[in-house]
Every structure is written in structure tokens, then in C-alpha cells.
Symmetry: C2
Subunit: 412 residues, 2 copies
């Protein structure tokens, strides 16, 4: 017997039929003797519908009330999911945030979970009942509704798994696991059986949309094994995200190739090479709430510096305006930019102990005549910035260079 | 300055535009220096949508989960109503049942309110803020969501008005008050300026759909003045329901003519006139959950009794089956029935002190050659049962006999 927390996202509870399928799966786990806690998101489309209603009424909807509004979506899902379980003779009981006291720090639209009162959930599991917990929502010290922001339901699931000492937190979604790269770009991409939290975090941050980095970080911190599975097909064990590296004899050096489209870069050339010049550039950009990703700096021979950073493409115009202002104030430097770039990264804990990973990656790009515009590295990741037209070619070349392809992927 | 509780029903918050209109009205009350607590129902159509989802998933939806599901409707309304107020610069704050602790006895789908924690509402009013409370929902001692059943939001409004010591509880709906009778039957029907709780209770029980009897009873018990008003037009003071009788010099004897369509009657003739025969008939009918309305019994000269009772037309077949079984067991009595009858009632506290009300009513019917099948009276009401084909004719004749018509009704 194992104790599982199973989280079902919006598409997995997006219709009557999908909710029935969730109940079927939970019933199978129960029949196999396991304990299951279910966490659900709002039915797909519902959150957008509610956001549109709010936008039609208030120019800039009040965050406190937006949280109350959006939390109604998960309320509908938990009730319907319980009904589907009860219909199959499975004891089930829904819980809203205030009932299991998913206590948050009270920040509206992006609050953090502080603690969960597990008493009722424990009692239910011991009585053979399936608790169905509303994802995404919490309550503050006053009992006011707060929501957890992007990736909120995944975070709820991980928090419940941590609080309940679950053996595994299973995230059911519309893909059947984490792949070596996006199968739409490389059809021979292979589903990974397991991956470490660190690798998953890099993959997620780099655009692999399967899990929000926040829930991966949370699960990693408390060492709760996470598993990504498809709620649309029953075959396969998905991808296990765990602290342990693969025990395979020939451990792969690289786990996957991640990429991010819609990037942009801004370069300042010939700025004075004095302390504080980087923060003078980036301070005002961050203050505007613009996320800066890669930062690369080279010192030239003549006491001047070249300085490049990347932002999301949508923030390019704003960031450029700020930088031009700063450079004008400093009275030095040429500013150039490019909003047609992408980032491609090779990720793997294996590269810690293997030299030559960078070389292999750069060679693969060189063979395809792809020019590298920027390079940035971490302990388990090498990222390069390229012209956007090379994205698919580069991903395929690197994927092949590290021999990541598996057998042909089964059709979902 | 007065303190008002204003309740807006489903059609009054049924669209973005209607919610904006609610906010406009509240803004005017605030501008006039009043304190306002708002109670809202789910947007019209929403409850049906949710009930259909539930029915598609579980044959007989679990009451605990149905309550969670349906309560989401009011959650959406309170958030949107607050946004509309905030958009107008009015401070507003939504409250779900668990936040103001609308504590109920815990019975799902038809629970009763036991107490309300008014601390936050009081604090809001003193700070010039408009609390917007979700109608229809409550929480039990465990914090589980329960709903109040039919007329639930009206009941919430009255309970909040009682707990907050409001000067008046205003029920905004799609009609502009309580009429002497249904204006669709008698176009010259007049809107009543005021009516007593007792009269309103009789009117409501007898088919006047404006208010659920439960909320009228509740308001009457605690002496909170209730006012029925239109949320669709701004003219008029609606109808005030209060403990005080009208102070007009010539107090009308009859306040209104109520009627109920879709009734049916069952008569047992020649049953033995012994104690317990009535309960032998009605006991099994009540046990089936069938509501018995009028009961009339006459003792004959030969030690036999004639016994008639009425039920809703939809319950006629079930009730008839039960009665036939009982009569067969007793071995005596003939059973006849009629499911094409209606009930027409004259209601008024004035009749307590006026003889001849019954006579005037029966004369009016006789003049139209309408045969009275049954008669039943209470202190403030006379009801007659008639063939359904006479309904409109009878209502008009009685309405005219008591001179209830006013000037031509303004178009809504």
C-alpha cells in the first residue's frame, strides 16, 4: 500500500467525460489498496470565463475579489469530482481551502502556502475515503480567500503531499511525461523515465511547460518524489522526478534539450568599465518588473566593457527604452538590440563530472553553420543564444549529438 | 442615516449590466449617507447550469457536494458585485459564509441559520465600506458548506438584517412590490404600499411568488421591516411588510386576493365516523412526503363521515393510490377525486373585526354562477376551492367586490 497525492489539471477535468475518467483512475488505485488524495484545478476554460467577467466590470479588477471569483472554479471541480467518485461507490469528500486550512501568507493572486491542517485528510484516508482538495486556493489568517498564482494547483498538490507524508505526488496532465526535448521539434525525442529535481527545474525554467518551476522547487526542497503522467492514456509510468540520479550503468551525460522562443537581447558596447555599471543598467529594468534572464559581460582592453542581457520578447521595447535613457545619462556607450533570438540549453546532472560537454554541443552547432551569439553555463546546464531561424535545426543537432533519441514515440 | 440590508436576486445580478445597475443603486444610498449591506444570489441561469453538470455525473447527486457546487454561484456574484462597487470608488468587501460565519444546523440543501458573526460587517460599516455577503450559503460546525434551500438568499438577507439591527431589509426583485392580486389576471390590480407579515405570509403561501414564506416568517418573528422593490426601475417605494397595520382612516378589510393553480382534491364518502379515521387517511400520505393543504370534514347523520383534502396536482396520483389502499383496508367508503381545481383566497387582517366578509365573497361568486366546492377559513383568510375554469373570473369578481383596484398600473 502506498499513499499518493494525484493532481489533475484543467484539461484533465475539462468535461463531464474527463471527470469520469479521473474517477475511474482513482477507483483503480483504491482497488489496488492504495490511499489517494486528489487535488484538482478549475475546468479548462472556466478561469478565462471568470477573468473576462471581471475585466468587463472593473478596469483593474481588485485582487482580493479576483481571488474570490477565481477560487469558485476549483470549488466546482472538487464537487463534481467527488460526485463522480461517489457514483462509483468510492467514498469521497471535497475540501475547500478554508476547510483544510491551506493557510497562506495572505498575498492576493500570488500567495505562498504556510501550513496545511491535515487532521481531516488523515482521518478520511484512515476511513478509506478519498479527500478531494481544491487546488490553487488558500486562506489567510482572517479566513479571506487568496490564490497561489501560476502553477498554483501543482503547488497545492506538492504541499499536500509534503504535509501528508505521501509516497509520491502524481501530476496528471495532457502529456505523458518529460521528454528529452519537445517531440514537435524532434519526433524521435524520448520520454525520460526519471530526472532529478535540479534538471527538471532547469528544463521547466527553460520553457518545458510540463511543470511550473515553483512546484518542482517545493517538491525538491522536501524530497517528495514527483511523477508526471498523462490523464488521457493509461499506459506508461510517466517521468519520475526525484533526488536520486539514475542508477543505469551508463548514465547519460545530458538528460534533455530545452529551449525558449520569444527571447530578445540588448547589448551596450563601449560603456565605462567601472564598478556599478551593470546595476546601473539592470536596476531600472528590474524596477519595471521586467525579468532579466541571461547576463554576459566582457571586459575589453581599452577600459571599456561590452554588456549583453536577455529579456522576454514582449518586454523588449520597454527594456530598450530604459537602457537608452540610462546610456544617455552616462554619456557613453552604443546600444544595439535583437528581438529575433532564441535560447537552447543542454541540461543534465551528468555534465558535472564530464568534460567536453560544451565542446560536443558547440561542435554540433558548428557542423550546421549555426553562429552562437551568447553562451551561459551553470553546473548542470549550458545555454546558447541563437538567431531564431536556427531553433529547430539546433535542437535536432544537439539532441542527436548526445544520442538522446529513443525508439519511435508511441502515439498518444 | 439608516442602515439597510439590500438583497438582489438572480435576475437582478443576471448580467454585467444588471450588476452595474446594482452598484449604481448602492452608490446612491451611500451618497445619501446610509449604511448598506448587500446580499446577492447566483447570477440567473448559473444554478441550473451547475445542477445539470451534477446530474450528468451522479444519478442522485450527493447533498454535501451539491452544496459545495451550488455555493460557487454566489461566490461569483459577490466578487463581481464588489468589483462594480470598487470601480465606482465605493469601498466594498465580499464575504462567503465561512468568513462571516453564517453558522447553520448543518443539514445539507435545506439548512437553517443558527447564528451570524457580525464583527467584520460592523467594522466595515463603521469604516464606510459596503460588505457584500453571499446569499443562500452557510457553514456547519465543521466548516463544511451547507445551503439554505428555496428562498435561501432572502433568508440570508433577513438573518443579516436581524443580526445587524438593520432599519429595513430591502428585497430587490423583478417586480416592483406586492399587488392586490396577480396583475396578469386583473390588470387594474394595485400595488400595496404596506401589508402585515401575517397577510404577506398568507399571500406567499397561497402562490404569490414575490417572497418565500420562510423569510417573511423569519422577518416577522424578529420584527425587521421587509420591503419588496424592483431592481429594474427606480421609481416607487415598493411594498413595505411590517408588524403595523395601515394607519389609513379607512382601512381596507381585504389586502389582496391570492390564488393557487394546479391543485387537486380527494374525497372519501361514507367512511365510519370514528376517532382516528382522518389520521388513518392522512398519515400514510404525509409519510410519503406529500404536502396536504386544505382538510374539510363533515359528519353525516348516519354515523358516517365525508372527508376531503387537497394536494398539489403533481402529487394527485400518488395520494390517490395511498387513499384507495387505506379505504380497501377499512372496508368502507367511496373515493372520488378531481385534479382540475384551483384555490382562491381573500387575505386581510381587517377581516378579524368585520363581519360579512365571507358573505361578500360568496355573493360575488354566486353572481357569476361559480360553484364553491370547498371552503376553509383562518383569522385573516377565506379560501375557496373552485373548478379551474373559473379561476380568472373568480379572482376578478372578488377583487372588484372588495374594491381593490387602483388607478391604471404604471408600466414597468
Amino acid at each position: 500500500m502506498a499513499r499518493y497525492v494525484q493532481k489533475y489539471g484543467g484539461t484533465s477535468v475539462g468535461s463531464i467525460e474527463r471527470i469520469q475518467a479521473v474517477a475511474e483512475r482513482v477507483a483503480r488505485f483504491k482497488a489496488a489498496g492504495h490511499q489517494v488524495v486528489v487535488v484538482v484545478s478549475a475546468m479548462s476554460g472556466e478561469t478565462n470565463r471568470l477573468v473576462e467577467l471581471a475585466a468587463a466590470i472593473q478596469d483593474d479588477p481588485a485582487e482580493r475579489e479576483l481571488d474570490v471569483l477565481l477560487a469558485s472554479g476549483e470549488q466546482v471541480s472538487v464537487a463534481l469530482t467527488c460526485m463522480a467518485l461517489l457514483q462509483r461507490g468510492i467514498q469521497a469528500r471535497s475540501y475547500l481551502a478554508h476547510q483544510v486550512a491551506i493557510r497562506t501568507n495572505g498575498q492576493h493572486t500570488r500567495s505562498r502556502i504556510e501550513k496545511i491542517d491535515t487532521e481531516r485528510l488523515q482521518r478520511d484516508l484512515e476511513a478509506g475515503c478519498v479527500p478531494v482538495v481544491a487546488g490553487f486556493q488558500g486562506v489567510d489568517a482572517d479566513g479571506d480567500v487568496t490564490t497561489l498564482g501560476r502553477g498554483g494547483s501543482d503547488t497545492t498538490a506538492v504541499a499536500v503531499a509534503v504535509a501528508m507524508g505521501a509516497d509520491e505526488c502524481q501530476i496528471y496532465t495532457d502529456v505523458d511525461g518529460v521528454y528529452t526535448t519537445d517531440p514537435r521539434v524532434v519526433p524521435s525525442a524520448r520520454r525520460l523515465d526519471r530526472i532529478t529535481f535540479e534538471e527538471m527545474l532547469e528544463m521547466a525554467s527553460l520553457g518545458s511547460k510540463v511543470l511550473h518551476p515553483r512546484s518542482v522547487e517545493f517538491a525538491g526542497k522536501y524530497g517528495v518524489p514527483l511523477r508526471v503522467l498523462s490523464s488521457f492514456e493509461d499506459s506508461g509510468d510517466g517521468t519520475l522526478i526525484t533526488t536520486e540520479e539514475s542508477h543505469a550503468m551508463e548514465q547519460p551525460i545530458i538528460s534533455g534539450i530545452a529551449f525558449a522562443r520569444d527571447e530578445a537581447k540588448i547589448t551596450i558596447q563601449g560603456a565605462p568599465d567601472v564598478p556599478g555599471v551593470a546595476s546601473k543598467m539592470l536596476g531600472p529594468v528590474s524596477a519595471m518588473g521586467i525579468e532579466v534572464d541571461m547576463i554576459v559581460q566582457n571586459v575589453g582592453a581599452d577600459g571599456q566593457t561590452d554588456f549583453t542581457f536577455t529579456v522576454k520578447r514582449g518586454d523588449y521595447a520597454d527594456a530598450m527604452k530604459i537602457v537608452l535613457g540610462v546610456v544617455e545619462d552616462m554619456g557613453a556607450g552604443d546600444v544595439t538590440g535583437d528581438n529575433r533570438i532564441v535560447k537552447v540549453s543542454a541540461v543534465g546532472v551528468g555534465m558535472r563530472s564530464h568534460a567536453g560537454v560544451a565542446t560536443k554541443m558547440f561542435d554540433a552547432l558548428a557542423r550546421e553553420n549555426i553562429n552562437i551569439q551568447m553562451i551561459s553555463t551553470s553546473e548542470i546546464k549550458i545555454s546558447v543564444v541563437l538567431d531564431e531561424k536556427y531553433l529547430e535545426l539546433a535542437v535536432r543537432a544537439i539532441h542527436e549529438a548526445f544520442e538522446l533519441s529513443g525508439e519511435a514515440r508511441e502515439e498518444a
